[in-house]
Symmetry: C2
Subunit: 226 residues, 2 copies
């Protein structure tokens, strides 16, 4: 499948690398590919800069948001919460229309220090903002509740015996995203309902960051016991 991964950070690299390894044709979208390639500093998790990462993932094509979005049958929003709406706007309404969008971005606000708070929560969510801004896209919120490495390889932890959630308005889009999640190794995927349920998934993140603080490792998740 042709996939656009929007973003070039830790989450974007995890998704693009895994989807490419699974045989998908991945284009990674950024605002200014030349500027992205010029960067030499490590990423937020201490990983290599994108140009080094691309050498190790030669099938992944780096291009603009707009080119990547035109290419993708599936769109992965792996942008920061802060950059998501701006990046998607550069991708373009027409290129996103009718497409399934796997929306990972969290509305994290680091301006008041650690742990971050949320820029939108409680009576709205970033997932809903994205869906409202791109009404013809089929937005499915998912993967925002775990670390990037677990997103694409949940079997690293307890053999994958833990839970992922999806929320979105389109049943077919959720089924397609669930198949992608299953191809990553997710065994237990719980459908919470429409895109407004993204409020619950994004408001879990303040607990996640505190668990990270308590456990001193991001390699954890919750298993829904029922």
């Amino acid at each position: 499948m042709n996939v656009a991964v929007l973003g070039t950070g830790v989450v974007a690299k995890a998704l693009a690398g895994r989807l490419s390894a699974l045989g998908h044709a991945v284009q990674m979208g950024t605002r200014d590919p030349k500027a992205t390639l010029a960067r030499s500093e490590p990423d937020m998790a201490g990983g290599p800069p994108l140009r080094t990462w691309l050498e190790a993932n030669p099938k992944v094509v780096l291009t603009t948001f707009a080119e990547a979005a035109r290419h993708g049958e599936l769109i992965v929003n792996a942008l920061s919460g802060h950059g998501a709406l701006a990046g998607l706007t550069l991708a373009g309404q027409a290129a996103l229309a009718g497409k399934v969008m796997l929306d990972i971005s969290n509305p994290l606000d680091f301006s008041k220090g650690m742990p971050p708070s949320l820029t939108v929560s409680n009576t709205d969510s970033l997932g809903e903002q994205v869906q409202r801004a791109f009404p013809e896209a089929k937005v499915v919120k998912t993967l925002n509740t775990v670390n990037a490495y677990l997103m694409v390889d949940p079997g690293q932890l307890a053999g994958g015996d833990h839970t992922m959630f999806v929320a979105g308005n389109d049943a077919g889009a959720k089924a397609q995203v669930t198949r992608v999640l299953q191809s990553f190794g997710w065994k237990d995927v719980v459908d919470l309902g429409d895109i407004s349920q993204a409020r619950g998934l994004e408001m879990y993140v303040p607990l996640w960051v505190r668990l990270y603080g308590a456990l001193k490792s991001p390699m954890f998740n919750v298993k829904l016991v029922r």
Copy 2:
């Protein structure tokens, strides 16, 4: 141990009944005991009115917030989020000073319909509001992440193989509350840190209410897999 359970709702009955059955001397606090006893309608979960419940739990004494708080070495805040600060104020600053307070109440706002939003979240929490209002109490946020029946008997679900959290400023208070939780059957109790971590525990509740909607049963919890 002498315990005050503040509140007379579903959560208060679950806690008072279990603590009494475990041999503690439980006084249940309400604003106006006569008015509480006069009520004949079922509770929010369809359970019996308090006067019927008290006949089945004859060792539990119903009294005022102030009397119960004076009696309790351990204070259980089982009030609604809406009623918590008012009820605790009636209990009285002096009666709460120096005591461990097991704070369960969630700041739920049902005014905009279901699922509820929160009246305070993100950059503050009800747990912190309670701690600020009663600076000499040792507030420990816990149990707010599960249904009342699981709070006091976690072994009903998966033999108790799921997780409870505590957050509070006082290490000794958290250790005492953890022993109470263990006496209920909790095996995995995770200490998140100081009372500001209550933000994470309360912001998980919007996910809980959505899981309740998806699962059609409140008998679930998360297990922290790490």
